[in-house]
Symmetry: D3
Amino acid sequence: MTISSTSPDVRNLVAAWLAEDIGRGDVTTNSVVPGEAFGRARLEAREPCVVAGMAVAALCFELTAERFDGMLEFKEVVGDGGRVEAGEVLARIEGPLAPILTAERTALNLLARLCGVATITSRYVDAVAGTKTQIVDTRKTTPGMRNLQKYAVTVGGGSNHRFGLDDGILVKDNHLIAAGGVTEALARARSGAPHGLRIEVEVANLEELKEALDGGVEAILLDNMSPETVAEAVRINEGRALLEVSGGINLDTVRSYAMTGVDLISVGALTHSAPSIDLALEFLESELEE
Amino acid sequence: MTISSTSPDVRNLVAAWLAEDIGRGDVTTNSVVPGEAFGRARLEAREPCVVAGMAVAALCFELTAERFDGMLEFKEVVGDGGRVEAGEVLARIEGPLAPILTAERTALNLLARLCGVATITSRYVDAVAGTKTQIVDTRKTTPGMRNLQKYAVTVGGGSNHRFGLDDGILVKDNHLIAAGGVTEALARARSGAPHGLRIEVEVANLEELKEALDGGVEAILLDNMSPETVAEAVRINEGRALLEVSGGINLDTVRSYAMTGVDLISVGALTHSAPSIDLALEFLESELEE
Amino acid sequence: MTISSTSPDVRNLVAAWLAEDIGRGDVTTNSVVPGEAFGRARLEAREPCVVAGMAVAALCFELTAERFDGMLEFKEVVGDGGRVEAGEVLARIEGPLAPILTAERTALNLLARLCGVATITSRYVDAVAGTKTQIVDTRKTTPGMRNLQKYAVTVGGGSNHRFGLDDGILVKDNHLIAAGGVTEALARARSGAPHGLRIEVEVANLEELKEALDGGVEAILLDNMSPETVAEAVRINEGRALLEVSGGINLDTVRSYAMTGVDLISVGALTHSAPSIDLALEFLESELEE
Amino acid sequence: MTISSTSPDVRNLVAAWLAEDIGRGDVTTNSVVPGEAFGRARLEAREPCVVAGMAVAALCFELTAERFDGMLEFKEVVGDGGRVEAGEVLARIEGPLAPILTAERTALNLLARLCGVATITSRYVDAVAGTKTQIVDTRKTTPGMRNLQKYAVTVGGGSNHRFGLDDGILVKDNHLIAAGGVTEALARARSGAPHGLRIEVEVANLEELKEALDGGVEAILLDNMSPETVAEAVRINEGRALLEVSGGINLDTVRSYAMTGVDLISVGALTHSAPSIDLALEFLESELEE
Amino acid sequence: MTISSTSPDVRNLVAAWLAEDIGRGDVTTNSVVPGEAFGRARLEAREPCVVAGMAVAALCFELTAERFDGMLEFKEVVGDGGRVEAGEVLARIEGPLAPILTAERTALNLLARLCGVATITSRYVDAVAGTKTQIVDTRKTTPGMRNLQKYAVTVGGGSNHRFGLDDGILVKDNHLIAAGGVTEALARARSGAPHGLRIEVEVANLEELKEALDGGVEAILLDNMSPETVAEAVRINEGRALLEVSGGINLDTVRSYAMTGVDLISVGALTHSAPSIDLALEFLESELEE
Amino acid sequence: MTISSTSPDVRNLVAAWLAEDIGRGDVTTNSVVPGEAFGRARLEAREPCVVAGMAVAALCFELTAERFDGMLEFKEVVGDGGRVEAGEVLARIEGPLAPILTAERTALNLLARLCGVATITSRYVDAVAGTKTQIVDTRKTTPGMRNLQKYAVTVGGGSNHRFGLDDGILVKDNHLIAAGGVTEALARARSGAPHGLRIEVEVANLEELKEALDGGVEAILLDNMSPETVAEAVRINEGRALLEVSGGINLDTVRSYAMTGVDLISVGALTHSAPSIDLALEFLESELEE
């Protein structure tokens, strides 16, 4: 997925987020800033980060300019995926000041969060560099921002797990309890689910791993195991199923898991605990249009 | 504000967030879990926190149960504002297993974030205990979740700043540039804005503070000043305007600012960097309904 | 606020209003008017008025032309705020006849009402000319048209009171009953409401006025008092609180109230009883496009 | 049509109108009124009127109570169609005070306008009592309120003309210009429109009346004629087409038109210039729930 | 009605239908097709048909291209109403391959159904060629597609009956039962319905026909009668009411009904059983953009 | 999937479809049928069919009854999956006549189409009885009705293919052209798509089949091959990939394909050419409520 600023989903979300902040109108700007004031601003990073979400930020400013019957120019300086240092300029904005001021907070709120996801993802990806392991996200995303956060994960070099409950089968421990065991659960999954979906099962130990492999599953989620146990799981698997590791993995331990040869390491923190990057909008000058 | 699970705004948001995860349906649960499976689960905290958002979590489960034409019981054990330790039970859920499994991730995603906001807020509030200073939030909220996050701030003991650009006037540095100075900006604000709104101005130093006081503003935001400068500002103010402090304040420094006697300290981190609390849903047992 | 024809709120409202009239399509125009018929029309006032809402009227025609895959030209002759006599032309419209005929009624329905609001407002404003008093509106607006009506009030020279229940605090008699008295009500308002909002209280007599002043309120609504009592209230106030007068004031009495020196006179009739101005669309000629 | 408070259209409109006023929440009520305050209020007319819209008013209070997770009782004292004097009670409301206060303005704004339409309609209907003429409305309705206003017209004893451009054919002078004359217009209407719709043509004089009758139209709108000319038109018509009169008719002249024997008199003022009836909500007492 | 690709109704429907297929994104195209791949395709008929819906098909491709921030060219080769043989090209599409592939199925699903309606309609129309009888549709349309299907009926040479329950009066047998007989039903219809609508009654035999004629109805639906009985009905009617025939008429029998001189024959099969025309999109070549 | 009448998706769709037919109101029923008329009706099949969609039909009547502030009872006699003969009763409906009449057409339009899909599906399923082959649907569904049609396929004994472009990967010939060949396409799919989705490729001949098997695909769509070629493909496959057959298969030929041992036969006609089953609503009696 790429973010398309003209996709109806993205436009509708951004419009709703702008409406959440603007409400009936920006009373400060509307009363204080002359309608004909014109100027330039630059969007800067105040800490190092991987940039993600520039199209969405631009859309915030552009949709707001439409409210004022005006047009502004959002010139991207660094594109998504760029790595910047503190103080670097991400974009220059030129046009009427009112919509720039009105859109500022929503644009920064979004961009700061998406850059945060891309940045933390890139750290995990860097940590496993040289191994065959992919860093993948989870469904532990911020409600309403899943697609954008998952996009930011790919910008940071990660891959995407399921986008929702409807595009992948992942049988977890609770499902096994509800179904009455692995055999029954797998039989039900195989007969009841669309044939285009792989069947993945979560296992808590090596016994369950073997049971799942005997059941012919195509992917296995190794939950909360030590690197040593994971390494043993890789040996047992013999390349049959795709192996995913999850649970309590952090930047300090991720490489030791990757060295076992697993295919995927999923990290909830990419989206539930990504830092918000410090960004700022600096106004350079202002003049009244003549 | 309190969260009303029957407010149309909250219901629509939660329904949209559930739809984001459920999409065309939970293929795993639908194929693996027998429709007649019935059971109990408990919602637990895995780390200490201040609880916020229980009504929204309940709504996730209830709206999902409606999709399955079923009904479940969500029994709240700890209400919003409760302080819990790791391992404590927040709620017990009883009913058909399918909707519980389908709603689980969205409910936890929301609750974990709202508990996070309440928890970090409570730390700031505790840090200024005994002073007259209020901890307030900012507009640096997660897009789409502003009202819920601001509610969680109050649960944690904080107060709310503006809810949007339309219910308060805050003239920032960029507005001053655009308006052509403090005098002009204040004159414009006074004549152009609805009379029900107070006028607050951001100042960067004590000279600007005096200028704002001379202009008769009702609230002043002291931006990025040391505790010493803030103390001096309090003296100069002589109780005339409401004084708010903001910028680079953390748990280590917040008390030294509060000791100066300012009215408000606003902290963006309450909403842009709150931790996501670790929560879990444990299934206790399962049985087929007869 | 200015009406922006590209604001999503305004566009959505106008589209909904057009849909209310057009339904599944204009069966008369679609069957009677040849698709290729082209012509000119002029929009006229049939009685003197202050013009307001031209951008919304233009939007009615433009959005309807889009339905017909056509484009028309709406040339504004008199802008918002212009004062016209009976027979004056407000705009000229040129293009395919079908969308002009289909949009006509909705456009006139809107424009007639907004001109009505601006016109009656201007009469009140004229009546207090030379005094310091501002004429302000109330929340007694037509459901669905609040923002547009409040815009028309400003076009007529008036000012806006609250836009809704969320951007201003006005403690009325019923609130006082519910809260258990002025002291309790003010204490609750001061601690519970966002600090960016002024606190205004309605008082019914001079005793309550003094009580409110003692409570330090920032604005006071003098309800249903005679000009003499209002004059006494102004003396008692000594410039401390903003004073607003309301209740049973009409064009004959408004000046006597303004002469007392109050700050604001709010008039519900600006929006709940504004006359609908008589407007007409005259077709000048018609020809088939070749 | 009757107003059904459970119709999705009515509920959605009322919800949108409440949202227009409530916005992010009623800051006055939320901060000043204790959540547990409970009481009674009565809805009164302050001037004589025909009542219309009680179900919509009730819906305003009920939907608002849902926001507060509460329930209130709206006891209708006078139903739609009732004629009341100044001071009469229309309804009694009992329940938590907060939602009553929050819903009050929207409920009164709606009810005052609908009672106004029913009241003015009833005056026209009374004026033609004893004749065969029906008083009908037009499409000169308030945008967004057409169906409710047309319902109020029937409550006042009037009948409804077209609800929109899609459920009736009315060929006006501009259509004739666009089509190139009566003959061509009627031929086009007959072949192009659904066969379930009658064809009505507007005529400006008796020559056009004859032409229309020769063309076999089923209804004729006599535009802006004197009672004498209308009487002549009735004679010429000999009962063939339905005859409607319109244009500049008021309460003083309407009976003289009705006496001519026309079938319908359409009056734009029923909806574009109906007075807003003065209504009030009186709180009787208040107590805290125990 | 003509299909306007810029009408808000049509755009919203098409956008919703695209969303139904695309969901969170076209994972095949997004992963397999390079973003810069560019090419040409042609849209072909694989069986003879009357073309209808080209503007809607074009809209599918254009709206999808917007999602990819791209633009493609949809060149219509055969317009609505054109009759084509198997193998004929309807349109040529040129542009980025990704949106063409993503939109393909929705576009074909729509176009195949609309061409189907136009094609079957044209067969009925051809079958009654030379008579005065019009072929009309019914309300037995596919939910969600009524307006488009009714448009396709007109493309095929047919006419439209009611578009919904609100733009025509058709009193059926069940209404007669509910009202308590023809006399009562007609009296109620005449007094209760807007005067712009004709009154049509369904009759099951010639006795009822006479009763309806005596009641002065303007149109009569002859339900499930033989051609002989219909011929007798035409004689009895003597041109007074519009006569419509319905019930169990197919391509073999339609002409014998038309020969009786009835005005309208309504055929539910035009929309409830129209064949889906076999169409295909052929890719001609592909190249990477440089 | 099962149809849940309380799922927001289903309710919203049904409400929109009812609105499409009802528009501003059922003028016939509203004027002709007394509001207090009460009665019973039965829903019958007029030809043999497999029943599907009873919950949706019930919802049509129930949602319409809400509009009339009434309640009716819909008693299902035959549930989804039941096989009925001509003349059998599917449901009995009891309550106020007005909503029954108003909802009738939409309910029948929906039910007739869903029963049609279930019925034709059951014929294909019966035709392959005793083989291991599953009958599956395609994305050639009616826009707006995909989920309901796919549900009806399962009622008829079939299985579901992809629900949209986002929950399965199917690389078709056009994708191969765009990607530049099978090897490149598979490599791209494997690296770019979420790991939870199987990769299916369409092949046109046995050479491509071998190439796909070498590429390690998990499912192969054999397009437009004879039963003999399919049998050869089954032999070559040796159970490695899931084999699906598609293209030009009808009720006469489907068994010969199933006998080859393929896993799936997908049939577009299940949804694009299902017959509309002839259903009727019979009113039994009517009486006025006292």
